[in-house]
Structures are given as C-alpha cells and as structure tokens.
C-alpha cells in the first residue's frame, strides 16, 4: 500500500466498509432467507476485517519520521478506523443473532 493511502487508510477503508455493509444489510437478508445462507454474517465480518486492515495500515505509519500534522492525520485515521470497526461489529452481531426471514 502506498504511503499516501496508508496515512488515510483508517479514515477511508473503515467508513467505506461500514457504508457497503449497511447497504448489503438491505439486500442480503432476502438472499439469506431464500437460500438458507449466512451471507450477511460473512459480509459483516469481512467488513470488520477490512476496517481493521485499514486501521492497521494507518497505525503502521506512526513513527518519528512523520511530520506533526501527518502524525495527527494518521492518529485520526486509527481512531476513526476503530470506531467504524466497532459499528460494523455490532452489525455483525445482529447478523449472527437475527433470523434473516423475520420481517
């Protein structure tokens, strides 16, 4: 991953994964219910992994070589990444606990 993207990875990947998973949460329950599958769960935990990956990529940039402003952006990315990973984790918990056929 290029260093420019890594700096913002937590800020980009984690909210992106959350947004995609939120949308998938409106589509996949119909498929899960019809096919008896658990794609909502798979998608949610995949999104958690993506969010954490972005967070880790940003975290790896924390070091003495960064300027003060860049360090601020990197730390911001890490914190935001964790916040969104938590939000997706809650969605994943819902996917595990709820029957997709409930309406």
């Amino acid at each position: 991953m290029s260093t420019g993207i890594a700096k913002y990875a937590g800020l980009l990947f984690a909210p992106g994964a959350w947004a995609i998973n939120t949308q998938l949460g409106q589509i996949l329950p119909y498929i899960d219910c019809g096919a008896g599958a658990s794609w909502s769960t798979v998608a949610s935990f995949g999104a958690v992994a993506l969010a954490l990956l972005g967070t880790a990529a940003s975290h790896a940039r924390i070091g003495p070589g960064e300027s003060r402003a860049n360090l601020f952006v990197v730390k911001l990315s890490v914190l935001a990444g964790l916040a969104f990973a938590f939000a997706i984790l809650l969605q994943g918990a819902a996917a595990v606990l709820l029957d997709p056929c409930l309406s």
Binding site: G25, S40, A69, F72, A80, A94, D99, L102
Partner: protein
C-alpha cells in the same frame, strides 16, 4: 499568478499601521447607503443578517408552538380548527428546522470561520450574499402562504401520498417543497464556502492539528450538507414534478414507490440533526475551554468524534422507518449504527467533562448554557438509544415520547449551546457585553421551562397520546399533563423574552467589550470588537492550538499582501503553508438580482413547468452580470 506589471502594487510591508489601516479600509469597507448595503459581500454583515433573520423565524416558530400549547391545554378545545392546526404544526417544524436551526448554525460559521482561521473574507463571498437572499425568499414564501391561509399542512417531512397529487389539494405541498429547494440551495452554497475557506484560506501555520474545534465542527457540518442536501432537493423537485406534470415517482400504482420518499427524505433528515448538532458541539468545545481556563482535553478524539459522527449520521435514517415493514435484519443494521454513534457522542461529553474537571471553571452565562446543554442532551441521547431499539420504537412511534425525545436532542443539543454562543460571541459581533444578571435569569427560566415542558411529554407518549392531534377527549388520561405542559411553556417563553430583552438592551447600551473580554485563545479575539471590514490588519502566523494563550502579548504576522485591492493568502490543506496570493471579489449587486431571478423562477415553477424555461433566461442574465469582468484590480487572480 497574474500581476499588474504597469504600476507597482501597494504592499502592506511598506506601510506603517495607520497607513495600512487607511488603505485596507479603502479596499474592504462597504460604503454607506441602501444600495451599497444590498451589494455587500462582507461575511460579517451577511452573517449578522442571517442570524437576525433566523432569530425572527425562531420567534415566529415559537409563537406557533405557543398556539399549539394553548389549543392542547384542555380537552376538546376549539381555539384552532383541525386545518389550521395542521398548518401550524407543519409551519412550526419547517420553520424551526429549515429557517432557524440550519441557517443560524451556518450563519455562525459564516461569521466565525473566516475570523477563526485568520483570513479577511469567506471564500466565494458573492455566493454567500446570494445564499442569504435565497433563504430570505424561501422564508417569505412560506410565511406569506401562512398569512394567506394556504400554508403547507403535511408535516415537516411531507410524507407521500398525503403530500402527493391524490391527497394534497391546492398548492400547499408545492409551497413546502419549493421552500425546501430555497433553503437547501442556500445551505449548499454556504457549505461550499466553508469547505474552501477552511481548506485553503487558513492563516500560515494553522496546520490540521491547530484548527480550532469550532472550525472542525463547521467543516464536518459543511460536508454533511454537501452529501445530504442533494437528496432532499431531489425529493422536493420530484414531488413537485409528480404534482405538476404527473410524473409517478411516488405512485405505486404506476410503478413508483411511496417508501422511496421516506428513504430519500430521511437520508437527508437524519444527517440534518447532526448538521445542527455538530456546530453546537464546536461551540461547546470552545466555550468549555475558555471558561475552564485550559486547553481542551482530548483535541484529537474530539476531532475524530466529529468526523465519525458526520459519517455515521448517514447510516441511521431507517430508524425513522422502523414501522414500515422492512426486513428485521436490515433494520437491525441501522440499530447497530444508531447505538455505535453513542461512542463518538460519549467521547465528546467525557472530553468536555474532563476539561471542566481539570480546569478552573468560571460559571459565566455561556458556560451555564453549556452545562444545561450537557444535561438535556444526555437525557435526549438516552431516549435516543431507547428509540433506536426496534421493539421499543414500535410502541412509541408517532407518540409524544418521540416529540419529547427530539426536542431534548434539538433544543438541548443545539439551542442551549447556541444561546451560550450568542452570550459568548455577542461582544465580538457588536463590541458590547450582554448582562450577566439577565443572562443567568434567562438561563434559569429557559432550563427550568424547557424541562418542565418537555419531560412530561415522555409520560404522555407512554400513556399513548399520538402526535399531531389537534384535540383529545376528556375521558382520556392526558388532560392534567397537557395543562401542566402548557403552563410550563409560559415559563420557557418568559426565559426567551428575557434573552431577547438582554440582546436589544446590550446592542443599544451594553458595556464596551474590548477585543478579548473572555481572555479566550482563538484568533477571532485577536482583532477589535466588532472586527474591521478587513478582519486583521496583518494576517497572523499560528504556531499553536491556542495562539492567544501561547502569545498573549503579540502574535507573529505575515507580510507581502497587496492593500490596493482585496487580497487573501491561499495556503496548503495539511500544513497551511502559504501557496499564493488571491484576489477576493468586491461588492456586487448581481447576487441580489440573481437571487430575485432565481426566486421568481422557483416560485413560478410551482404553477407551470414553463417557468423553468423562461425563468432561466433572467437567471442567466444575472449570472453573466455577476461574472462579467468589471475592470477592477480584483479581476486578476
């Protein structure tokens, strides 16, 4: 950068302070006279107009609330008929949300952001002037329709099919929809200005980690506006199309979808809450730091919380639609996000409390309103977590519990901090202090009146009283609480009365404020009160989050700007390193004419689609006038 090579430009580094001020005034000041006042592009003047206009709408919306409370004070009252009541609750909600809450927050941004980032005017100042005239026209459209007994009666969210062609008779729903177009056009214009001002016009040295928290909150708010407002403009335009030219966006019988309205509306409507709340959070952060006499605790987590809140705001909208029959698992994803947003909200509250705990708080009026905010907003947040749960929400949906919840969030989360902010920045805006004694009275009456008015509404909701009913039968168990609420509302009104009396008194004869009466840390306090037309004699250089606390005696300044024309520093996004000098547009009457032409086109399009075609011609003419080079020094970039 293009420079006039024929004559040497007048630069600020060649002038002493008195000479510099004289030249800057010549370049930046708006001359006297009504015509010139209409043409001004000074962000401070326009912001003051916005604030006054928004507070006038607050008074009007508040009077409507009083009318509703008088009607509901006793069962089977006949003071208002059902039709008028429908108009009144629609007008109340629409006025408070679209003509008061959003504009007043943007107005505070228009006034404060350029000063806090250390620049001389907002980006795109003519667009700024245009935005004010547009929102004024939208407000007049709504209120003139009310005076003519033709006001919208479809609720502030105008659900179809009630607002569609089948059930919405006359032009009432069209007026609501077009008022929305006016206000969102205005909001979008301001949002773009704020983003560009914050990203490209910060004083040298004000890197991302030194931006004042209020400016961060306004930046996030501006991005939310840019993302959310197009959705509601799409909604209002398609509603008018359905009603005027028989498109079928919301008609299920013809392949449309009534639920599409709810999705599009609430995709905007929920972020709208944060459009109002986040600026308030920025105000609270600023006031807490100043009156705790220490730097804010947790600057980085607070910035993260603002950004996370701004993004999560777009994943909550379905919690307004829990009873429409979507798949339970899909709904639960929105419950998850609604719960998760409590994390950044909690971070903010704990950072403010930690700042107060670690500082030496001075309980002046602005801080009292902030403490009132924390109490009421936490109660509103707790009931928010309750209604984020599908089973609970299903029980209390469309009851007074929800009315109580959102008033706690909106009044607690926005109006309390805003009143604190007015007490805090009034001295900067007018050069005069508001009264501490009257301020404490206003706070006490408003805090007590608000809680006595709205807390019992939770109980009314749990007792089953639905929203938007114009009366109720005497045998229902709601009469006593309703009477108590209506009496308490008078206490709330008296608090606002004291506040407005204090504003008018201070404006006329308040004590002189001086440049920095609160001994605050941010750049707006580095200039005189009220600030001159050019904001800063010399643009400051920033080397700390709290520049005036780091350098209480004198700030370092830059040099090298032209003073014979309006000129600004353009700086880099992350580090705020100076990149260029850029001209700033002079006053112009064309934004005023463009707003009038746009208003005629938009109002005409309620009645005939041809208004868009023919109305586009005067709009184009005014825009050509707006951008036509005038031969001034500012024409060159």
């Amino acid at each position: 950068m293009t420079e006039d090579r024929k004559q040497s430009p007048l630069m600020d580094d060649r002038l002493d302070d008195a000479e510099l001020e004289r030249h800057l005034l010549q370049s930046w000041q708006t001359p006297g006279g009504i015509w010139k006042a209409l043409a001004t592009v000074d962000h401070k003047t326009i912001a003051r107009r916005y604030i006054v206009t928004a507070f006038v709408f607050l008074i009007l919306g508040g009077l409507l609330a009083v009318a509703m409370r008088i009607q509901l004070a006793q069962p089977e009252a006949r003071i208002l008929d059902p039709d008028r009541y429908n108009q009144i609750f629609t007008m109340h909600g629409s006025t408070m949300m679209f003509l008061f809450a959003v504009p007043v927050m943007e107005a505070m941004a228009i006034y404060l952001v350029p000063l806090m980032v250390g620049t001389r005017n907002i980006a795109f100042p003519r667009l700024n002037a245009f935005s004010y005239w547009i929102i004024l026209a939208g407000g007049l459209l709504l209120w003139i329709s009310f005076a003519l007994d033709a006001a919208p009666d479809v609720g502030w969210f105008a659900y179809v099919p009630l607002s569609g062609p089948e059930y919405g008779s006359g032009k009432r729903a069209d007026i609501w929809a077009q008022m929305i177009t006016f206000t969102e056009l205005s909001a979008l214009a301001v949002a773009v200005e704020i983003v560009v001002t914050v990203f490209k016009q910060r004083a040298p040295g004000m890197s991302l980690d030194r931006i004042p928290l209020l400016v961060w909150s306004m930046l996030v708010m501006a991005f939310i506006v840019i993302m959310a407002m197009p959705a509601i403009m799409f909604a209002s335009s398609t509603l008018i199309l359905d009603r005027l030219v028989e498109t079928q966006f919301y008609n299920p019988a013809a392949g449309g979808d009534a639920l599409l309205w709810q999705h599009v509306f609430w995709f905007f409507g929920h972020p709208e809450v944060y459009i109002i709340f986040l600026p308030a959070a920025g105000m609270v952060s600023t006031i807490v730091a100043t009156f705790s006499r220490r730097a804010i605790f947790g600057y980085l987590p607070l910035v993260m919380a603002f950004i996370a809140t701004g993004i999560l705001a777009f994943g909550l909208w379905v919690h307004h639609m829990f009873v429409v029959g979507l798949p339970r698992l899909g709904e639960s994803f929105f419950t998850a996000s609604s719960m998760a947003i409590a994390v950044p909200a909690g971070i903010q509250v704990f950072c403010w409390l930690a700042t107060l705990w670690l500082g030496r708080p001075v309980f002046a009026t602005p801080l009292l309103f902030v403490i009132g905010f924390i109490v009421t907003f936490v109660i509103g947040g707790l009931t928010g977590v309750m209604v984020a749960s599908v089973p609970f929400d299903t029980q209390v949906h469309d009851t007074y519990f929800v009315v109580a919840h959102f008033h706690y969030v909106l009044v607690g989360g926005a109006v309390f901090p805003l009143l604190g902010a007015i007490y805090y920045w009034f001295p900067k805006m007018t050069g005069r202090m508001m009264s501490e004694r009257l301020g404490r009275w206003a706070f006490g009456l408003i805090f007590l009146g608000f809680n006595l008015t709205f807390f019992p509404m939770h109980i009314l909701g749990l007792l089953g009283m639905p929203r938007r009913v114009y009366t109720y039968q005497p045998d229902l168990p709601w009469g006593g609480l309703n009477l108590f609420i209506s009496l308490s509302a008078l206490l709330l009104v008296s608090g606002f009365l004291v506040f407005f009396i204090d504003v008018l008194r201070a404006w006329r004869s308040g004590l002189p404020a001086g440049p920095n009466p609160w001994k605050a840390a941010t750049l707006e306090w580095a200039t005189s009160s009220p600030p001159p037309a050019y904001n800063f004699r010399r643009i400051p250089v920033v080397d700390a989050c709290d520049p005036l606390w780091m350098h209480p005696e004198e700030l370092a300044v830059t040099a090298g700007l032209r003073v014979d024309r309006r000129e600004l520093i353009v700086s880099s996004v992350v580090e705020a390193l100076p990149e260029a000098r850029e001209s700033s547009p002079r006053d112009s009457i064309w934004p005023f004419w463009a707003a009038i032409a746009t208003s005629i086109m938009l109002i005409g399009s309620i009645f005939t689609p041809w208004a868009v075609v023919w109305g586009a011609i005067p709009v184009a003419v005014t825009l050509i006038g707006w951008f036509w080079p005038k031969g001034t020094a500012e024409d060159a970039s």
